[in-house]
């Protein structure tokens, strides 16, 4: 058994006697910022440098690299050598993937863990169980960047209708757990808009209507949610739909109070209102309305836009005061005849 593991150093292991360990630093070196490694880590990496020198690719190298990866999952050189060794030894990549399930759960935020899976998937071509695995990780760490980006890569790379079909429901489920999960909004955009037309979504007008209704309903639940507003703006820009077409929806969100009037007894699904507990006016709505006014281009429109930007700068979103003042100046350039507000 050549796997040393904790307690048995490679230097004491007869199965490794034929390898000359190589120290990280040359004799006489006085490196800055040295790391005080454990004996276990130093021993294992000395032996890795030893087999690196000889170029050995064997089963015991797989054991050694697994050992080091467990001690330091960010050691990219080890991962790369392990990958070459897997291919050179015709290793069972399915077993490797299972081993990776174990390591990934412990080291979610490491690039190399996710990239190694990607390399394996490119060889194995079994993406469907991988989607399940990814979902299990996202269950624990709902915004893990590497995981979401990997899921998107997997979908785009295999580009299989069956795989795509489950994504909209999946994103929707994540958003129903947390409407503020920006990763899930981004994923929705990726699936519906950014990576081509999905099967069944060929009627783009219908797709747009569905997405607008979805987004508006989410905004009405919690208006101070930049994820939803950014998505809304994103789809309007992507489809070159005017912001003005959503004026009726936006206006109630620009008012200081929840609208109380007779007309609110009629439920308008196209224009869901903010809830009674929403904090209004919501800055993203004020900005949206200002842009509608700017697009009108005439003097009155520009004046209204500038007033809204000033409201944001001075009252509703003071953190971004300088930016809103910049937006007001930009708006004024569109109508030079407006000299003062």
């Amino acid at each position: 058994m050549s796997f040393s593991g904790p307690g048995t150093l490679y230097t004491d292991n007869p199965a490794w006697r034929d390898v000359a360990p190589v120290s990280q630093h040359d004799e006489g070196a006085n490196p800055m910022a040295p790391i005080m490694y454990t004996l276990e880590y130093k021993d294992a990496t000395d032996y890795f440098r030893g087999i690196l020198k000889t170029g050995e690719k064997s089963a015991r190298v797989l054991e050694l690299t697994e050992h080091i990866i467990r001690l330091n999952p960010a050691h990219y050189s080890i991962w790369q050598y392990r990958y070459e060794t897997l291919l050179a030894t015709n290793a069972d990549l399915k077993a490797e993937l299972l081993l990776m399930d174990d390591i990934a759960t412990a080291h979610l935020k490491t690039y190399q863990v996710w990239h190694h899976r990607r390399l394996l998937l490119q060889q194995l071509r079994t993406p469907v169980p991988e989607l399940v695995f990814i979902a299990s990780i996202l269950d624990i760490d709902t915004k893990n960047y590497h995981t979401w980006a990997y899921r998107q890569w997997l979908l785009g790379h295999f580009n299989d209708d069956g795989m795509w079909a489950g994504e909209l429901p999946y994103a929707e489920e994540i958003l129903s757990n947390d409407v503020r999960n920006n990763s899930a909004w981004h994923h929705r955009f990726f699936v519906v808009w950014a990576s081509g037309v999905r099967k069944g979504d060929e009627n783009r007008e219908e797709t747009l209507r569905r997405e607008l209704n979805f987004t508006k309903s989410k905004i009405s639940l919690a208006p101070n949610n930049d994820s939803a507003w950014n998505y809304l703006r994103g789809i309007l820009n992507h489809t070159q739909t005017s912001f003005a077409s959503l004026r009726d929806f936006v206006v109630p969100y620009t008012l200081p109070h929840f609208p109380i009037s007779a007309s609110t007894t009629v439920l308008d699904l196209e224009n869901p209102l903010p809830s009674s507990t929403a904090k209004l006016p919501c800055p993203a709505a004020l900005e949206f309305l200002a842009e509608i006014h700017e697009d009108e281009r005439h003097e009155e429109g520009i004046k209204n836009a500038v007033l809204l930007y000033k409201q944001l700068a001075e009252e509703q979103d003071k953190t971004r005061k300088l930016y809103w003042e910049h937006r007001a100046r930009e708006a004024l350039k569109l109508a030079p005849e407006v000299t003062s507000i």
Binding site: M32, Q80, H115, D178, S227
Partner: protein, 479 residues
């Protein structure tokens, strides 16, 4: 009375953790605006000179980064190493250079674009020409070959052999190639398209994009969806890359990135008063001190692209107008698009660890990475560093012709084209300078809180970037 970020009476996990963070920050924050220079210098020096405890084995592949984070941290605080330790630093950095070219995370590690950036920047700080000086020992030909070996058909670069593609690699490569005079047309072919493809619907940039090809392996211009949401770190790398590509892109019909959307996204990343004006890295995520640099540093980059001047395209880049000093009027925009006071407040009141060093947020412990990027963020919040048309003019006039291809890197250019290209790259990078006009630098709290200005393209002192570039571009140092 400071108000919490509203949850609209509809709490979710995101809003709950945001609320908790705001409470912790307001409970743990210091009340005095004092930069603990001594504490931070000790924190950095301790690691450099005594080393790290055993759990830092997790960072074994980031040793090159520790050199850069520490040395640049010192530079920002106005400190430097004595000659013996400088030499020790040079020797440590060079030990991580791979025999075939490129630097790894440590000795005997595979070459990788990120530690290559860290190592070359660290050598810019402590290195010099001549024997054992570090600069002449960089294997530039091997480095260029390493870069080309990582180049992908869609304009991206893997960060190392068989490793991941992402825009951090692009930025690190372009920054190093710029500093060492290795930036050629062949190297950058397709790169602008890749950078552009990483911009998301939110306006910020993602880690990478998905290329689609025709049956004949031609890259499709769409779809080219970004992989991962808009993120502060990747946005910094994308905008840095875009600026570094300007000598190749500007004045051509290469499509632009959407500067207005990028600006909007960046400003939206600044947190509200209960997070003291720090930056978050993604929509609806938490404040983190390192974004003080990754996001805060982007505003100067956008100024370099004329973000606020209201004009979509910069002025024509022909010989005549390039040297026209009256173009200063065109830049009516400054980098004051974010609340600089708020950022300084966050860094001074929340990001400083009482034991020395700086951190993500209270109650996390300080580390070398957060120490540097908080200090760099403090720098951008205090100073304005911009690309000066006047300096451009002066450098242009002093340019010493460099048409020779002594490393035989790229035969696609004529000598005259090579010289023009190198001049453009040199002038563009060297034109950045600190605005020392009265009232521009603003230091919150005592004047002793002042840190040095840093170059927005590299995160190096302007003097350090000038020094190494003067050497590798065969120019005489500026007087």
């Amino acid at each position: 009375m400071l108000r919490h970020t509203p949850d609209d009476g509809f709490p979710t996990p995101t809003s709950r953790v945001q609320r908790e963070t705001e409470e912790i920050i307001s409970d743990s924050s210091s009340v005095t605006f004092t930069l603990n220079r001594k504490g931070h210098l000790s924190f950095i020096a301790r690691a450099l000179l005594q080393g790290f405890p055993k759990h830092y084995a997790y960072q074994d592949a980031s040793q090159a980064w520790f050199m850069f984070w520490s040395l640049q941290g010192f530079s920002l605080l106005g400190a430097g190493l004595d000659p013996d330790n400088k030499q020790r630093a040079i020797d440590t950095i060079l030990a991580a250079q791979h025999p075939d070219g490129g630097f790894g995370g440590g000795p005997h590690q595979a070459p990788h674009l990120l530690p290559t950036y860290a190592s070359v920047c660290a050598l810019s700080i402590v290195g010099r020409p001549g024997p054992r000086g570090g600069w002449d020992q960089i294997n530039r030909k091997g480095l260029y070959a390493f870069f080309m070996s990582l180049k992908q058909p869609d304009g991206s670069f893997r960060v190392a052999k068989d490793a991941e593609v992402d825009i951090r690699g692009t930025y690190c490569l372009l920054a190093v190639a710029t500093l060492l005079n290795l930036l050629t047309p062949t190297l950058v072919r397709g790169v602008p398209g890749f950078v552009r493809s990483c911009q998301t619907y939110e306006g910020g940039f993602a880690s990478a994009s998905q290329p689609y090809y025709t049956a004949d392996f031609e890259l499709l211009s769409e779809p080219r969806p970004p992989l991962g949401e808009a993120h502060g770190g990747y946005t910094s790398c994308a905008l840095g890359s875009w600026l570094l590509l300007q000598p190749f892109v500007h004045g051509t019909d290469e499509p632009q990135i959407d500067v207005k959307d990028a600006l909007r996204w960046l400003t939206k990343m600044q947190c509200g008063p209960m997070d003291l004006g720090g930056f978050r890295g993604r929509t609806n995520k938490l404040v983190d001190g390192c974004y003080s640099w990754w996001v805060g540093g982007c505003f100067a980059l956008l100024e370099g692209l004329g973000a606020g001047a209201g004009v979509a395209t910069p002025p024509p880049h022909d010989e005549a107008s390039e040297s026209n000093a009256s173009e200063i009027d065109w830049y009516d925009f400054d980098d004051e698009m974010f609340n600089k006071t708020g950022l300084q407040e966050y860094i001074l009141l929340a990001a400083q660890s009482p034991a020395g060093g700086l951190r993500d947020k209270p109650p996390k412990v300080a580390d070398a990475y957060h120490t540097l990027y908080n200090l760099a963020g403090l720098s951008v919040a205090q100073h304005r560093v911009y690309s000066s048309p006047l300096r451009k003019y002066v450098i242009e006039q002093c340019w010493i012709s460099q048409p020779q291809d002594d490393l035989s890197l790229d035969s696609s250019e004529t000598p005259s084209q090579r010289d023009t290209r190198r001049r453009r790259i040199f002038v563009a990078a060297q034109s950045w300078t600190e605005d020392e006009s009265p009232g521009v630098s603003r230091v919150l709290g005592d004047a002793s809180n002042r840190v040095n200005a840093t170059h927005p393209l590299f995160n190096l002192m302007v003097t350090h970037s000038r020094g190494i570039m003067d050497y590798f571009y065969g120019q005489t140092p500026a007087s």
